[in-house]
Symmetry: C2
Subunit: 109 residues, 2 copies
């Protein structure tokens, strides 16, 4: 992952609505959810949610697929893993011992 991409992803995640939408869709993997259901669960107007879903999709954090009149959104988990790897590398940059043995056991709990 390059730095402009990381900045873009942080920018997109730096919104309560967008972070909530992404987290919701992670929970709903792999079925995903259609836009109206996301709006209902998060209790935001559809027009506003559409704005945020578009931002997430343009940043590739979500994928979207048409299903008749519905738009089904899904979380792009591999991209999030790339972002985590980027952060981890930045954080340890030149000093791997900084990150070692600090309870970074992401796959448990």
């Amino acid at each position: 992952m390059d730095h402009p991409t990381a900045v873009l992803l942080f920018d997109v995640l730096a919104s309560g609505v967008r972070l909530d939408a992404f987290r919701l869709l992670v929970k709903k993997e792999p079925e995903g959810m259609v836009a109206g259901d996301i709006a209902a669960v998060l209790d935001v107007p559809p027009t506003n949610l559409s704005f945020h879903l578009k931002a997430l999709t343009q940043a590739r954090l979500l994928t979207v697929e048409q299903e008749g009149r519905f738009q089904r959104y899904r979380a792009n988990i591999p991209l999030m893993l790339d972002l985590i790897a980027y952060l981890t590398e930045e954080c340890c940059s030149g000093r791997p011992e900084q990150c070692a043995n600090r309870g970074l056991t992401p796959n448990l709990k």
Copy 2:
């Protein structure tokens, strides 16, 4: 880490100058750097850098310590590790198998 904190951290990292400053200071751990040197390396006006360092410091991603006339900044690596753990947990939420065995070996380069 709670969600408002995560949103705040993403917001602060969603800037090229701030992300560069943080990465630079991670590399310079544990000595840190004084504000003027950071401005020189990143080639941004001191007044602008001060604005961004303040944002990073208020979000606790940096610590600052006075040294005579100088302000010495250091990266708060434990907080970044908390953020990484939060992201990892969100990303795996309810579906740990999503994150397992995907090359997430953060401590090796």
